[in-house]
Assembly symmetry: none
Homo-oligomer: 294 residues x 2
């Protein structure tokens, strides 16, 4: 037993309501299941609306909603909402005031200056990227017939991973090259003519990346390169080159503008794919929830 001075607050399991609903999803009649889904789909906001609105959202009648919450064990809809509010209050234990009270003293100059530095570097990067290159990158990556692989240097590999994460959700057929050499070779061999290899290469440019690019070029794989203004040697092998600034307040180069570029390309792919992306996203989401992966 802990000492008596400690506040005995342990709190109920977070999202207990959501969990209760989810766990017994099968045991409900169809109409009430629709209610359950409606609540979980927009949790917890949907449950905080009025009975009438929630009923409309779930496409059932108001009484069905009431029956649902009573079956959950609540005295009535207000009681259910109280539970929801209780959860919410617990999660959000005064985050705003917490910050507000702490943000007392400071010399405001320093931080804002570094913010500006990042901001201008990003802006410059976008001014200097040829619109045609950007568009080309998007259309390559949005083409569902092309497999996509990505890789980078020790640090920039994370950017590649980030891009792949997005592309996987949006269109599939995308992979980050494994770190082990066997895996790399295997993955490379799956790439055929007109598939796409996205590379990130920043100074000091790594030999491994260049060799990889050469191997890919031999196989007539399209190469998209993210690099710095001094241009990695990979550039001459690449079909699309997207340079970004690397100004930074620390001795390291900054990846901020590059990340911005990556995200804007992702945005372009979303637009290019249109409803197809939406559809796939929905599928990924529902499957992920079913497998409790998300």
């Amino acid at each position: 037993m802990a000492d008596s001075a400690a506040p005995p607050y342990v709190g109920p399991p977070a999202d207990s309501v959501a969990r209760t609903i989810q766990d017994a999803m099968d045991r409900w009649p169809p109409a009430e299941r629709k209610v359950a889904r409606a609540i979980l789909a927009a949790y917890p906001t949907a449950g905080l609306e009025t009975v009438a609105r929630l009923a409309a959202r779930a496409e059932v009648s108001p009484p069905t909603v009431v029956r649902f919450v009573t079956r959950l064990g609540y005295a009535g809809f207000p009681a259910f909402q109280d539970a929801l509010l209780g959860e919410l209050a617990e999660r959000n234990a005064s985050p705003l005031t917490l910050i507000a009270t702490r943000s007392g003293r400071a010399q405001p100059g320093q931080l804002e200056q570094t913010g500006e530095l990042f901001a201008t570097a990003t802006e410059r990067s976008f001014q200097r990227v040829p619109a045609a290159e950007h568009a080309a990158a998007v259309s390559l990556l949005a083409d569902p017939n092309r497999r996509i692989a990505a890789d980078g240097g020790r640090f920039s590999r994370l950017l590649a991973a980030y891009l792949v994460l997005h592309l996987t959700q949006l269109r599939g057929s995308s992979a980050l090259l494994p770190e082990t050499s066997v895996g790399r070779v295997d993955e490379l061999l799956t790439l055929r003519r007109n598939d796409v290899l996205v590379l990130f290469d920043f100074r000091r440019y790594e030999d491994a990346t260049l060799e990889l690019a050469e191997a890919a070029a031999d196989r007539r794989v399209q190469i998209v390169l993210f690099t710095d203004p001094w241009m990695s040697p990979v550039a001459r092998l690449a079909q699309v080159v997207l340079p970004a600034q690397v100004d930074s307040p620390s001795p390291y180069d900054s990846f901020v503008p590059t990340l911005a570029l990556v995200e804007s390309v992702v945005g372009g792919v979303v637009d290019a794919l249109g409803p197809a992306a939406e559809h796939r996203l929905a599928e990924v989401e529902s499957l992920g929830q079913r497998l409790h992966l998300l």
Copy 2:
């Protein structure tokens, strides 16, 4: 297609309701100020209760509450609650829902505007980060006596990896939490009181991250949190909270400002460590070259 003056999506004012209330805190009569405080103290739950309850909580009469919200510009109390619910819904929004609401497509001509969007978001982030929080993060991470571990969500984990990569070079004793549960437990157990756990948690906040934070808090581990303006529930367990904007041209939230924040913290650590960091960097480099790893 020429620009039809479609304004680029900037996102709704983050926590607009809370901010509006806070910004004009002085301009209100005493009783209504009590209402404002009551709402902010338990945001946003307090505002979602009934007028009567909120009035009781603030120790004023119901009409005062109503007058307060109308003065804020809302048609009535229900309208005010709708706004609150809207914010809440957005904060838990999935990429799928966002895709529907963000209509502004990124035309090739809008590239520079996209750049500006990222730039201003970054700038804003740095303006809103309390300097004290930033300094606190740096001093925690620069302390060679503290072990450091980091983790994040599916996407934001990459930011954690990036931070760890830097810290490893600069000061060692830093690790990214493994993905396998056994590895995680093991790594967690190495953390002692006053060690540091850096977490990245963005909407939709992941339960696993919260549970991790709770376990760490129990062990009296110091928690540094990178999150979005809506604040992960981890915030209440964290000693240091660094919020960043997430405005983006794509349906996904942007990590650009967060990455900028991470890099600026790294820069701070470099400064704080001074020659020690330089020395270690040199060592890492020579050893790496000797082993043909770099």
